[in-house]
């Protein structure tokens, strides 16, 4: 435990900023593998973002300053939220009590800008995408709070890092809670990062899109920032799952490979889900998102039993 804080901060920042590209690359590679293709290089997302940074922005004449500002806000809020989230070693760069509330509202602020920026373009597609995205977010949010709230109540550690203590401190209960919470967060990840079966990130059909359609008008640097930010969001949610699963108090040289390994496995799992099943019908997506809520209710009841007895 003699590692300095500065090193952990740098390590976490590095993972937060760089891992998104590789996570996306691995998902693509996995999909290609199951499809029997060679697929693009796992560095392709890096090349794409670099390319986008070199390109000009094309701004629709019907937009206002909101549209200009939104990509920056989305990127900064995601990065900022990432500072609160525990990454390697269960360590959050900003470790304060009730951080998960601040975390989700910072993300919420970013999403709010994404939504109004899409509405700002006055495109009927983007309006539809916005209404879908807002709707799913509304269902995801309470479930997220129920899970995080009950988990910290159990560990009695009101910082975000309390997630790491569930398995080590609460034995069988901890394992059950960890499994349920991880599955719920995995569903949240599929919804929030617009993956199959909720959304299809590779489709060209505007009418079926959710997240992709909201950024149809963004180009160049704006698109690069949004792509990067949505990758970061995926890494943040994955690291929450990793922190729930990984036991507390391991040494860094064991923990770091395990942590990255979990990211890799999750990326592989997402790719496999995308390859194996079809997308849900839009009206069935609600049912899918509600699965997360039911997992959350199981978590809360498990913890209530633990804390207050039967």
């Amino acid at each position: 435990m003699n590692i300095s804080n500065a090193f952990l901060i740098l390590l976490n920042l590095f993972i937060l900023l760089i891992a998104p590209f590789f996570v996306l690359g691995i998902i693509k590679k996995t999909k290609a593998f199951w499809g029997g293709r060679k697929g693009v290089s796992i560095f392709q997302p890096v090349y794409d973002v670099v390319k986008l940074f070199k390109k000009d922005r094309v701004i629709s004449s019907s937009t206002s300053w909101i549209f200009n500002l939104a990509p920056v806000v989305i990127f900064i809020t995601t990065l900022f939220a990432g500072l609160f989230a525990p990454m390697v070693f269960g360590y959050s760069i900003i470790n304060i009590e009730a951080a998960f509330i601040i975390f989700s509202y910072i993300l919420g602020f970013g999403k709010f800008f994404a939504l109004i920026s899409a509405m700002d373009t006055a495109s009927s597609f983007e309006g539809m995408g916005t209404s879908r995205e807002a709707c799913f977010t509304t269902i995801v949010e309470p479930a997220f709070f129920i899970i995080l709230g009950s988990v910290v109540a159990l560990s009695n550690d009101f910082t975000f890092a309390g997630l790491t203590k569930i398995i080590s401190n609460f034995g069988t209960y901890g394992v059950l809670v960890a499994i349920m919470a991880s599955f719920a967060l995995l569903i949240m990840l599929l919804v929030e990062c617009s993956r199959v079966p909720v959304d299809d990130p590779t489709t060209h059909l505007e009418l079926t899109m959710i997240h992709e359609v909201m950024i149809l008008d963004n180009s160049g640097v704006d698109l690069a920032l949004i792509t990067w930010a949505s990758g970061m969001k995926m890494v943040i949610l994955m690291s929450l799952i990793a922190n729930i699963i990984l036991p507390y108090g391991l040494e860094l040289k064991i923990l770091l490979p395990l942590f990255l390994g979990i990211l890799l496995i999750l990326a592989f799992a997402i790719g496999t889900i995308e390859a194996a099943i079809a997308r849900l019908r839009m009206s069935h997506v609600f049912e899918f998102v509600f699965i997360m809520s039911s997992f959350a209710l199981v978590v809360v009841s498990l913890i209530a039993v633990k804390l207050y007895g039967v």
Binding site: K31, W34, G35, G36, R37, S124, F125, G127, M128, S131, V196, P197, D200, T202, T203, H204, L205, E206, L207, T208, E274, A275, A276, I277, A278, R279, L280, R281, M282, S283, H284
Partner: protein
């Protein structure tokens, strides 16, 4: 006699077609329950001659009739208001000759004057319009779609086409060629080229060899196999079912690469010509075709079974874009889409020639939805593969024949009609010649001409996000409609 009865691919004297009073013809058309396959005008001196062809699918006959309308007459009582299947035909006739069908319920531009198009609009607090196209994401032809929605639910879809109107009918009259015929609709080029060649052969009284006929039909069935497999892959792609998308795409390539070996073009361009075919299929190549298709059949079977036991795939396909048999009959939908709605019409068997008469027309258990449209493709692929195998067996008997014969001059004052069942459905070509033995009118009707309106009906009351899936299931032609 109000009608002159002909078979498919039969040249007749233009003057044999009875010309009756328009009012009598109208009364007949309103009363009959026969399917209209052609309703078009031709310049006739100071008059416009209106030709009508009705199909009697049960007897395999085509009934021809005509009426003269003086050019000074600018309107007539619409047939559509009493018999809905004339809807598109009357709109097209109005656009081409300016004779207005009175009380037509939906008289809008077909291919020209898109600026004058008035869309159907709804008003209400939660009603919103979604305009898609004419430029789309991805590799799609141009067409404008206007949805009237409440939330996610589609109340009405209006489709405006005509962005690719090239005037193919007039071009064919001026300078008929196989190259032009196969450029009208790129995904059914064998069927188009075959219909055109059959028309020209009838008009000139050329009888082509059995071998050429067999090769044409092999190519037609291979086109059907290839496009159907590609479409099944595209349907899987639309619902993000990656496995299906990739496997079908690979399998389709095997089929079109075999086509490449036959004709030097993966889509069979340049294979069919007036008087026969340009490329022979020898013994070695026939064995190769049979070999490839056996493999294709196996892969398609495995993939389709895997797709149809996947609950997520079935959940997307089932009950999506339902179009009832009654609606399909009323709109006179044709081809594969009609068959997926339980209407058993297939011009290969209904207007049977010597090659298809040995084959049994198998019925299909239609469910009228996207699932039905997926499954009928699977059924037709299996059937087409067995057709090709049987056709190749027949080819062995006529190995010594020529593949091409020289053509003669067109016979003056003739009328010829050719129906070819492309993979979408019937493709109808009609041509007439004048006294000098030159083409005077060329009319084309793609099956999309009937079926586009069916798509509008299919998406009603469905989620707007299910539209691409419905659209892919129909997979209609833009350029075949626009001409």
């Amino acid at each position: 006699m109000n009608y002159y009865v002909v078979k498919n691919n039969q040249r007749i004297n233009l003057l044999d077609i009875p010309t009756i009073d328009f009012e009598i013809l109208r009364a007949h058309l309103v009363a009959t329950n026969l399917r209209v396959v052609a309703f078009f005008g031709a310049d006739w001196g100071s008059d416009v001659k209106l030709f009508v062809a009705l199909a009697d699918d049960e007897k395999g006959e085509i009934l021809l009739s005509s009426a003269l309308i003086n050019k000074s007459i600018k309107e007539y009582e619409s047939i559509t208001k009493d018999n809905h299947q004339y809807h598109m035909f009357e709109r097209e006739f109005y656009e081409q000759f300016g004779i207005k069908p009175l009380n037509h319920p939906w008289l809008k531009p077909v291919r020209k004057n898109q600026d004058d198009y008035e869309f159907f609009e709804m008003e209400g607090e939660e009603v919103h319009q979604v305009a898609v196209g004419p430029i789309h994401a991805g590799v799609i032809e141009p067409g404008h779609f206007r949805f009237m929605c409440q939330g996610e639910k589609v109340y009405n879809l209006e489709i405006m086409l005509g962005y690719q109107h090239r005037g193919c009918e007039d071009l064919l009259v001026k300078k008929p060629s196989n190259q032009l015929a196969e450029s009208i609709c790129g995904d059914s080029l064998i069927a188009y080229n075959m219909a055109y060649s059959q028309i020209m052969e009838q008009l000139s009284g050329t009888e082509i060899t059995t071998k050429a006929k067999l090769i044409r039909r092999i190519a037609l069935e291979m086109e059907r196999i290839a496009i159907h497999i590609g479409d099944m892959g595209a349907i899987c792609g639309d619902i993000a079912y990656l496995m299906g998308k990739e496997v079908y795409a690979v399998t389709r390539t095997l089929v079109i690469n075999t086509m490449l070996e036959i004709s030097g073009s993966r889509f069979g361009k340049g294979l069919i010509t007036v008087g026969g075919v340009n490329f022979d299929i020898d013994k070695k190549l026939s064995d190769k075709i049979i070999d490839v298709l056996s493999g294709v059949k196996k892969t398609v079977k495995q993939m389709t079974q895997a797709a149809l036991i996947s609950s997520t795939v079935r959940s997307r396909l089932e009950k999506t874009g339902v179009i009832s048999k009654e609606t399909a009959t009323e709109l006179a939908l044709v081809g594969m889409i009609a068959r997926s709605c339980g209407i058993e019409i297939d011009s290969r068997f209904d207007f049977c020639d010597e090659f298809y008469k040995d084959f049994e027309k198998k019925s299909f258990k239609a469910t009228n939805d996207a699932y039905s449209r997926f499954k009928i493709r699977y059924k037709e692929i299996k059937e087409s593969i067995s057709f090709v195998k049987k056709l190749i067996k027949k080819l062995d008997e006529v190995r010594d024949e020529n593949i091409i014969v020289s053509t003669k001059k067109l016979i003056p004052n003739s009328f010829a009609l050719s129906i070819v069942e492309g993979w979408r459905g019937e493709i109808i070509h009609i041509a007439t010649t004048n006294e000098q033995g030159e083409l005077s009118r060329y009319k084309i009707k793609d099956s999309s001409f009937n079926n586009w309106y069916g798509l509008s009906m299919a998406v009603r009351n469905n989620g707007i996000s299910d539209f691409p899936l419905c659209n892919k299931g129909f997979d209609l032609s833009y350029c075949g409609f626009d001409l």
